[in-house]
């Protein structure tokens, strides 16, 4: 019996070690917290302002908590500021909606992300002087019937969109008669939608059209800033650097530094950025790229990133399931303690049970994505505790899994036949002995299919942790997709990897289950040799 559990334990341990090992260098890097670094928040996914690359070419700077690098116009500006402040620049890669929380919670010192200083944002954070002025364009396909629009009303009937949470999206209202589509997460998604024809165009800045044209010459940008009746406040047509409200000193020095960068230099930096931004293979490299299958070239460029993503996903899922299992076990045991005889203990148990059911209800009843955002940004904002995002993710998955497994294990305990409790009681075992030696081994064995299921769910559901920018498999996938613009093949590859992971894990757990189940019949001849120790053999003779 014991050897069976040992077998299982070794397997689980091996698995965990494996996934920790792949992430080790990563967590090590996280542990080093150098106050000298200037942490700059950006999407690293908004060319040419900022993007992610796998090496440090063209003076790219490292992205915190990963082996990747960021570059772009924003990074170049950040580096000038960092140089003047004598601080090393590090990029905090964050989704667009997470930028403000990252700043206010102290996870970043600056936002340099092509962000405009709108009145609404200025309520939450301060903005520097602009570091770039831009004009607005509607980007459509060359052959679109809106390609020759001359005035705002020419967009009548056009399906237009813009990035979620930007004022670009509000600008669509000024294009009278245009059909405003739901806002999209990032430019990559809008480019893909435009090419696939689900939208007629999207509102963006001129730089977006410049960089888009480099990868796809079949698009056209129609400047709308100068069209009659178009109105955008100065705040909206510039991009500025976001700084947390209390940090007045930093705001002052950033403004002083920006004043030293002349317009000519800014234009030069932007041109550089547009040239350096990652390109899709078949555009510039021509022959050589075409002869190589896409999968191979993608693997060459992003293989390391994908492996790290797989490692992170496995780490999150396995640690989450194992820790969640122990949380669930503890909660499940407490929730099945028989009612004590003394009133004091009875009330204490009632109170604890109430707390536990609140825990289960809250974590089963809210999406993990929301929990992640609340815990990661909430803790930082209200308690000024800056948890490492990997640690935060591990905690969230564990707590979440614990809530599910608590009920599964409670069910397992309850469904263990009453006779097993009674037989153990009749031998004089204490409650703890009954639980640990008789009930729990049976309950856990019966729960194994559900635990496997939870593991599989975790492998897939950790993808929602991309909200706090944990670079697990899905996050890696969306980064690759947005840089290569190969949405379908990238996500197809990512789903194949997910399937391979879940399939393998299912098989492993099926084997374990089968092993624990044993055979239906007892073969007397085959088993006789195993009978006890030599001493027992003597006793038998």
């Amino acid at each position: 019996m014991k050897s069976r559990y040992k077998w299982l334990a070794i397997l689980v341990a091996l698995f965990t070690c494996l996934s920790i090992a792949t992430n080790f260098s990563l967590t090590e890097a996280d542990a080093k917290k150098d106050d000298g670094t200037l942490k700059v928040a950006m999407e690293a996914n908004y060319q040419p302002y900022n993007w992610t690359q796998t090496n440090n070419a063209n003076g790219a700077v490292p992205i915190e908590g990963s082996k990747e690098f960021a570059n772009g116009y924003d990074v170049k500006i950040a580096k000038i500021i960092g140089q003047k402040l004598h601080r090393k620049v590090e990029v905090v890669k964050t989704e667009w909606d997470g930028l403000l929380p990252a700043l206010t919670s102290g996870k970043a010192d600056l936002i340099i992300a092509g962000m405009s200083p709108t009145a609404e944002r200025e309520k939450a954070i301060n903005f520097s002087q602009p570091y770039r002025n831009s004009t607005f364009v509607v980007i459509t396909k060359l052959n679109s019937r809106y390609a020759n629009a001359k005035k705002l009303t020419d967009f009548k009937g056009a399906k237009l969109t813009a990035q979620q949470g930007t004022f670009h999206y509000d600008l669509i209202k000024q294009l009278k008669g245009a059909k405003r589509q739901p806002a999209m997460r990032d430019f990559a998604a809008m480019r893909q939608s435009l090419i696939s024809g689900t939208i007629d165009g999207y509102v963006a800045e001129d730089t977006e059209s410049t960089s888009f044209k480099m990868v796809d010459p079949d698009i056209k940008s129609i400047p709308v800033s100068k069209m009659a009746g178009f109105h955008a406040t100065k705040d909206e047509s510039v991009t500025a650097i976001g700084i947390a409200k209390p940090n007045k000193a930093l705001l002052k020095s950033v403004n002083q530094i920006l004043a030293t960068i002349p317009e000519a230099k800014r234009t030069k930096l932007m041109t550089e950025a547009v040239k350096q931004q990652p390109k899709t293979d078949n555009n510039k490299k021509g022959k050589k790229a075409k002869s190589e299958p896409w999968l191979v070239s993608m693997w060459r460029q992003y293989g390391g990133m994908i492996l790290n993503g797989i490692g992170m996903t496995l780490l999150l899922a396995s640690v989450g399931t194992i820790v969640g299992f122990f949380i669930g076990l503890a909660v499940g045991i407490v929730r099945t303690i028989p009612t004590p005889t003394t009133t004091g203990k009875r009330w204490l148990l009632k109170f604890v049970n109430w707390l536990l059911s609140v825990y289960i209800e809250v974590f089963r009843g809210t999406p993990m994505m929301v929990q992640a955002a609340v815990i990661y940004y909430g803790i930082a904002q209200f308690w000024h505790l800056n948890i490492d995002r990997t640690v935060a993710a591990l905690i969230i998955v564990s707590i979440n899994t614990g809530a599910y497994l608590a009920e599964i294990i409670r069910g397992g305990i309850i469904s263990t036949p009453e006779g097993q409790f009674e037989a153990a009681s009749a031998l004089g075992m204490t409650h703890n002995q009954r639980m640990w030696h008789i009930i729990l081994p049976q309950a856990i064995k019966n729960c194994l299919p559900s635990i496997t299921n939870e593991f599989i769910v975790n492998i897939k559901d950790t993808s929602v942790l991309s909200i706090i920018s944990v670079s697990e498999l899905f996050f890696v996938g969306s980064t690759i997709a947005s840089q290569t613009f190969k949405f379908f093949p990238t996500y197809l590859t990512i789903s194949a990897i997910y399937l391979a992971l879940t399939f393998t894990i299912t098989r492993i757990f099926n084997l374990i289950e089968k092993h624990l189940q044993g055979s239906k019949n007892y073969n007397l001849m085959a088993n006789q040799v195993q009978v006890g120790t030599p001493k027992d053999m003597e006793a038998n003779n």
Binding site: M1, A426, L427, G428, S519, G532, A539
Partner: protein, 249 residues
């Protein structure tokens, strides 16, 4: 059937209610050391509840259970030590499904009696041999027949060296051809001087093995005495009626 006059266990005015339903109205009896007592009676009369009240699987609503003259229901009485001394064999065997035959017979010894692994194994093997199951030490309960499981359950119970062994309808869940093997194990046990209280429907067996018999019906003992008194000279009309059903057996 070595019987002394030392009272080992006595039930005093035991009452047990489940909700509104009073299952045991007033049960009192004494069991002497080495005595074999059987409890018979109609289904639902309170036989099993009486037995379960003895080792506290059911908490009596009122009354006393005295073991060596001490009330085990007293608040500071160590019930787990008492239970280790009062073994129980269940109708459904209730072997630990997660343990093999040998481990079933060892776990109680190790955990409750704190015996060493070697000692526990030795005692378990001796008792498994007694019940003829020594060849199956590595088998899991689900691999055994009902009769085999019940024999292991008996070995598990006697491995604790109990002073009293309770049997709750040990053959009722067995196929007819397996009843014999279990009864013969019990008959062998009876010769060792172990005190046994048996709830059973096997009248011939009860008649043969018992020193004392109780007829429990509607939560009271309606008749008690030697097998000869109950079977040949029943006083109570319920006993007469009940036994007439078994005349042909």
């Amino acid at each position: 059937m070595t019987e002394s006059n030392e009272t080992i266990l006595s039930l005093k005015n035991i009452k047990k209610t489940f909700g509104e339903h009073q299952v045991l109205k007033d049960i009192s009896f004494d069991i002497n050391k080495g005595e074999i007592a059987t409890i018979i009676g109609p289904s639902g009369g309170g036989k099993s509840t009486t037995l379960r009240c003895i080792n506290l699987l059911e908490e009596p609503t009122a009354g006393e259970v005295d073991f060596h003259g001490k009330n085990v229901l007293a608040p500071n009485y160590n019930r787990n030590i008492y239970r280790a001394k009062v073994g129980m064999v269940f109708q459904q065997f209730d072997l630990f499904e997660n343990k093999n035959v040998l481990a079933n017979c060892m776990v109680g010894q190790e955990l409750v009696l704190k015996r060493s692994k070697d000692e526990a194994r030795k005692i378990a093997m001796t008792n498994l041999k007694k019940v003829g199951m020594e060849q199956y030490v590595n088998a899991r309960p689900s691999q055994l027949s009902g009769g085999q499981q019940q024999r292991v359950a008996i070995a598990r119970a006697i491995s604790m060296d109990p002073e009293i062994l309770l049997f709750d309808e040990p053959t009722s869940a067995l196929d007819p051809e397996m009843v014999g093997e279990v009864l013969s194990v019990m008959k062998n046990l009876a010769t060792t001087g172990l005190t046994m209280i048996i709830v059973t429907h096997e009248m011939a067996f009860a008649k043969e093995i018992s020193d004392q018999m109780f007829f429990i019906s509607d939560g009271v003992i309606t008749e008690q005495g030697t097998p000869d008194q109950l079977f040949n000279h029943p006083q109570n009309e319920k006993t007469v009626k009940f036994l007439s059903n078994f005349q042909n057996n």
